[in-house]
Amino acid sequence: MNTIEVEELSRNFGQLVAVDRVSFQVAEGEIFGFLGPNGAGKTTTINMLCTLLALSGGRAIVNGYDVVRQRSEVRHSIGLVFQEPALDEYLTAEQNLRFHAYAYNIPKELREKRIGKLLELVELSDRRKSKVRTFSGGMKRRLEIARGLLHNPRVLFLDEPTLGLDPQTRRLIWDYILALRKENNLTIFLTTHYMDEAENSDRISIIDHGRIIALDTPDKLKDALGGDVITLKAVDNNAAALELKERYPELSSGPSPVVQNGVITFSVPQGEKFLPKLMDSFQSHLLSIGIRRPTLDDVFLNLTGRAIRDEEAGFKEQMKGMVMRRGHGR
């Protein structure tokens, strides 16, 4: 049975179409990743699945319940970790969990036992009586994960679970998540714009401008690019890209060369064999050559023509990059 079934789900905010006829299924026990830049519609989708936001169109079933007609049943059966912390900072860790237990009607005999067990799992037992405002970002997130699991939900929604956390804490939080999945056959729906984080998913759905543009396992998405990714830096990138296309027409069958962030990126089936050929006869003056296995970033770049991280970089940074590149060329 599928834990989540979504059909033609849409949401508009006035003129803006935030989520545009999205359809997908998530199987029980699966980690399903929603990957896309900020503003792609990830949080809007989660909010609709969690009954926090009305649907503009389509249908969504979570744990067999309709998110519009059976809100209460949906709410009982899901756990949620929000993108922004949603703890009462003036209460202690324990009080936050107890509030949650009351709200979800957890029987008294189970309540304290589960609170103790989950605090132990996220290694916050010694801080259970501390006010949450004294916690670090990572501790708060861990407490939220514990809270999201307190009422034994069958599916856990994680909206950017490690946003703003340092790499070490991110690793730690993922250890918890993966352990949980193993232990309880928990279904996990997560959104992220971190590529490496998305790799933890069983399947990834890439979303951009409110639409799903690809949906598959991380390996298959990368394999679809066809082999290795080659990056070239030339004195004149555009001329070099043109020469590539003319000289190797077979490249256009795969992802064609893209000039992005001062480098030309393209992929070939066997990079180690392609490079010697290239160096023998290439006319344009090259500054550097790189070869690597494809990442999800390449997948996104290939699908949309731009990198996810570009969305993060401010205008200023992009300007700086342009100026530097120009200076380099002369």
Partner: protein, 273 residues
């Protein structure tokens, strides 16, 4: 139905938990009413004293100050909703299986409890101001304060139901609450004033709350003096279309208003975006 009750009690429970832990909030809600009592009392006692025959001005103002304390902490319950929205905790409440009307009623009940406690603490001042206080009066006052604060928290929640920022809420509160306070008969009787002011006073819910508490304190004989005496200029009581309101009628007005405010607040709050 069960979800409505559970929503009501968990939200009220948290409200009280927060109140107990935020000591500063306990004191800050007394500051303004006390300030008014001391400064206005000292400054206006001789000047306005003549308007309230047989009653000292401070004794006249004191019941109103209690109503004002209740108003402040009731409406401020709305602020905690905006606060929760800004700091994300509201999402935790909204995604839980709780009835929306329960959440609104829980906020109202929680803040009503706080407001009643604060109103009762204000009673400590009574002996110093020469206001006579009997155990019976305190017993009568408590249900009255509960009704008033429930009703006024409806106003606070209603304002908060669509507000996104604390600043915005504070501004609205300044615009609504300040005139409500000054035109409610706390500081001067609302019968001997220009017509426009009288009209606003008579549609102001706080006027009836103040009047009810005042009648309780000063006795029906003095506070109930209205149009019946034939000299409206000296009246302390509230007259509507020539009829002087009794305590029960005052309370009834507050109850009706409370039901209306809380219903609209629930509707506005539960409308899904």
């Amino acid at each position: 139905m069960e979800e409505v009750f559970r929503g009501m009690w968990v939200v009220a429970y948290r409200e009280l938990l927060r109140f107990v832990q935020e000591r500063s909030r306990i004191f800050s809600s007394f500051a303004m009413p006390l300030l008014f009592l001391v400064i206005f009392g000292a400054g206006f006692n001789r000047i306005i004293g003549a308007m309230t025959p047989g009653v000292d001005y401070i004794q006249f103002m004191y019941p109103g100050i209690i109503a004002m304390t209740v108003l402040m902490s009731s409406v401020m319950s709305g602020l905690s909703i905006v606060w929760d929205r800004e700091f994300g905790f509201l999402k935790e409440i909204l995604v839980a299986p709780l009835g929306r009307s329960g959440i609104v009623l829980g906020k109202a009940a929680g803040s009503a409890t706080v407001a009643v406690i604060q109103g009762i603490v204000m009673l400590v001042l009574a002996p110093f101001l020469g206001v006579s206080l009997s155990p019976l009066m305190v017993i009568e006052l408590i249900p009255m304060l509960i009704i008033i604060s429930l009703s006024l928290s409806g106003l606070g929640v209603l304002i908060a139901s669509r507000m996104r920022s604390q600043q915005g809420f504070q501004i609205i509160v300044q615009i609504i609450i300040m005139p409500m306070m000054f035109l409610s008969g706390v500081f001067f009787p609302v019968n001997n004033v220009p017509t426009w002011m009288e009209v606003i006073s008579k549609i102001n819910p706080l006027t009836y709350s103040v009047d009810a508490i005042r009648q309780l304190f000063l006795g029906k004989e003095i506070a109930g003096m209205g149009g019946t005496m034939g000299q409206a200029g000296n009246a302390i009581g509230v007259t509507v279309f020539g009829h002087t309101m009794t305590i029960l009628q005052d309370v009834l007005v507050v109850v009706i208003l409370g039901v209306v405010l809380l219903s609209i607040a629930t509707w506005s709050f539960s409308k899904q975006e």
